[in-house]
């Protein structure tokens, strides 16, 4: 459903409340959980960028890891090798992955279904192999570390070496881009993406250049995945070739399916639940992935629209 009225006020209220909650959280939890939450925010951004291409446009891309990794490398290499400041390197972690997404998308969006899935995996694998072998530039599987300078915006400045500063920094950017994506989904462009997901043939017949719009969605998603990668490496002050591995895309797939695809809040909730689950389970057993896998299978069978879909249908019934 893409045309809904009268929910703006409710949304703003909930959004502001959650944001306020997250702003005061660091005063109540220790550094470990602050880092945990910072990483969670990054994965939320990654998951919603994936949902733009999967949940809204209907293309299952396993190639998002490539753009995530490229964003991470953009930030790391610009700061470490070229001495760029933090602001500019993070800013560039959007357009550089976008250029690659344009290239990958140019070949991929012509394909549909399983062929699209496979070609995006292949591109991510190629990226991973290059990252692994070109060690002089990428650090290979050992990776690269760096120390970013404080992020400056006018008089405003945040020290990213400080965990709490880093937390607020990532929270602010993810919140901004959450709103950005929400607005885009409500725009005419978003309606076209949804139409394509619902029926490509019909969209084409009423005059939408389906391949062009798929490419646009893919490029935007690529840019946002890149930004998520850039934030991730800023948080960990580290990047490695494994960031490019296609299985990284799998995180976004799992979060989105568990939370509910085709919504923005779904992947965010999914990321929160799965990451918390993994975090608590690791105390008791090593095979956390196994449990996550079982949860995933359960969700796909019992609630294909994810938790959000489950809650929505409960609401409707009574």
């Amino acid at each position: 459903m893409f045309l809904q009225k009268g929910k703006s006020f409710g949304f703003i209220l909930i959004f502001v409340l959650i944001l306020l909650g997250l702003i005061v959280t660091p005063f109540f939890v220790d550094l470990f959980y602050q880092t945990f939450l910072t990483e969670l925010f990054v994965w939320i951004l990654f998951a919603i960028s994936f949902d733009l291409i999967f949940g809204y446009t209907g293309l299952l891309s396993f190639g998002q890891a490539l753009f995530f990794g490229l964003g991470s490398y953009t930030v790391t290499i610009l700061i470490r090798q070229f001495g760029f400041n933090t602001e500019l390197s993070l800013l560039l972690s959007i357009p550089i992955p976008m250029l690659f997404a344009w290239f990958v998308g140019y070949f991929s969006v012509k394909l549909s279904g399983i062929h699209f899935v496979i070609i995006t995996i292949i591109f991510a694998i190629i990226g991973n192999i290059i990252g692994d072998t070109w060690t002089s530039f990428t650090g290979g599987s050992d990776g690269l570390t760096f120390s970013p300078r404080p992020f400056r915006l006018g008089l405003f400045q945040i020290n990213l070496m400080d965990i709490k500063g880093n937390y607020y920094f990532v929270l602010a950017i993810v919140a901004i881009f959450y709103l950005f994506l929400r607005r885009m989904i409500q725009s005419p462009l978003g309606k076209i993406f949804i139409s394509i997901r619902e029926n490509e043939e019909r969209a084409q017949l009423i005059g939408y250049n389906v391949q062009r719009y798929k490419l646009i969605a893919f490029i935007i998603a690529g840019g946002l995945s890149g930004l998520a990668g850039g934030l991730y490496s800023l948080t960990l002050k580290y990047v490695a070739a494994s960031y490019l591995h296609w299985s990284v895309s799998g995180h976004a797939v799992v979060y989105t399916i568990v939370g509910g695809m085709g919504t923005l809040i779904g992947p965010a909730i999914g990321a929160g639940i799965v990451m918390s689950l993994e975090h608590y389970l690791i105390n008791y057993l090593q095979a956390t992935d196994l449990v996550v896998g079982i949860v995933l299978v359960f969700m796909v069978l019992m609630a294909p629209k994810g938790l959000v879909g489950l809650i929505q249908s409960r609401f409707k019934r009574g």
Partner: protein, 252 residues
């Protein structure tokens, strides 16, 4: 009947082959503005293929197609849509997970250019008004917020026509609108079509001869991909060759 014979669509020597099979062979066809042209013929005669060639879903192997005096033979289907040709499918093709309102909206919106991706779609007053007037015309005003897969099959067929009409086409192609409907539902649909589509230039592919005879201004008969006969319904009814290959004795 249309005033003057202003030709809107013209097919010249159009061929389409799939491997060795000639699905459409040397078809010449002209449709005038305001005309309702029926396309009839046995199964596999190439009727749907012909529509697919006109809308750019398939490319002609040879020959040329002109629409409003401009060649459209090699255009993509979304481009042809913007030139003013719209269609419905033999198997209903809707945005099935969306509401009736959203289905029509998507089609209305397609006529609009936009440069600001951050405008809220719902703030487009003109699109909204046009969508609402289309809902009125198609009779879906009180069903606007139903998910369209919840509609009855007959209503889905009507909705698809509404979507096709919402792009404001100069030529509308209807591929077996009564397929899968019982005779009563067909009657309702025909009645609806009369009120919805008056004045519209239409090519109608249809098996139900009652519907064809009632609606068509002219009929073209396709047989093995070639045009066998062409003329007003009365003439076609009495054409011996047509009787032999298609209408058979029970219709004669």
């Amino acid at each position: 009947m249309p005033e003057a014979n202003e030709i809107i669509l013209e097919l010249k020597e159009v061929n389409k082959s799939f491997g060795g099979l000639l699905a459409v062979s040397k078809v010449n066809l002209s449709v005038s503005k305001g005309e309702l042209r029926a396309l009839i013929g046995p199964n596999g005669a190439g009727k749907t293929t012909l529509l697919n060639l006109i809308t750019g879903t398939l490319r002609a192997s040879s020959g040329k197609i002109f629409f409003k005096d401009k060649e459209i033979t090699h255009l993509h289907s979304y481009q042809i849509s913007h030139r003013g040709i719209s269609r419905t499918m033999q198997i209903t093709s809707l945005f099935s997970g969306l509401t009736v309102f959203e289905n029509i909206w998507a089609a209305v919106q397609s006529r609009k250019k936009f440069f600001n991706p951050f405008v809220r779609a719902l703030k487009w007053q003109d699109v909204k008004e046009k969508t609402e007037s289309m809902l009125e015309l198609t009779g879906f005003k009180d069903k606007a917020h139903l998910i369209c897969s919840e509609l009855s099959y007959g209503n889905q067929r009507i909705l698809e026509m509404g979507i096709a009409l919402s792009t404001e086409p100069d030529l509308l192609l209807l591929d077996e609108p009564t397929a899968g409907l019982n005779s009563q539902e067909s009657m309702v649909l025909v009645k609806k079509m009369r009120s919805m589509l008056s004045g519209q230039t239409i090519i109608l592919v249809e098996h139900d001869m009652g519907v064809v005879m009632e609606l068509a201004d002219n009929i073209s008969v396709l047989h093995y991909g070639a045009i066998l006969a062409e003329g007003p319904p009365k003439e076609i009814k009495e054409n011996e060759e047509v009787k032999k290959v298609y209408l058979g004795s029970e219709h004669a």
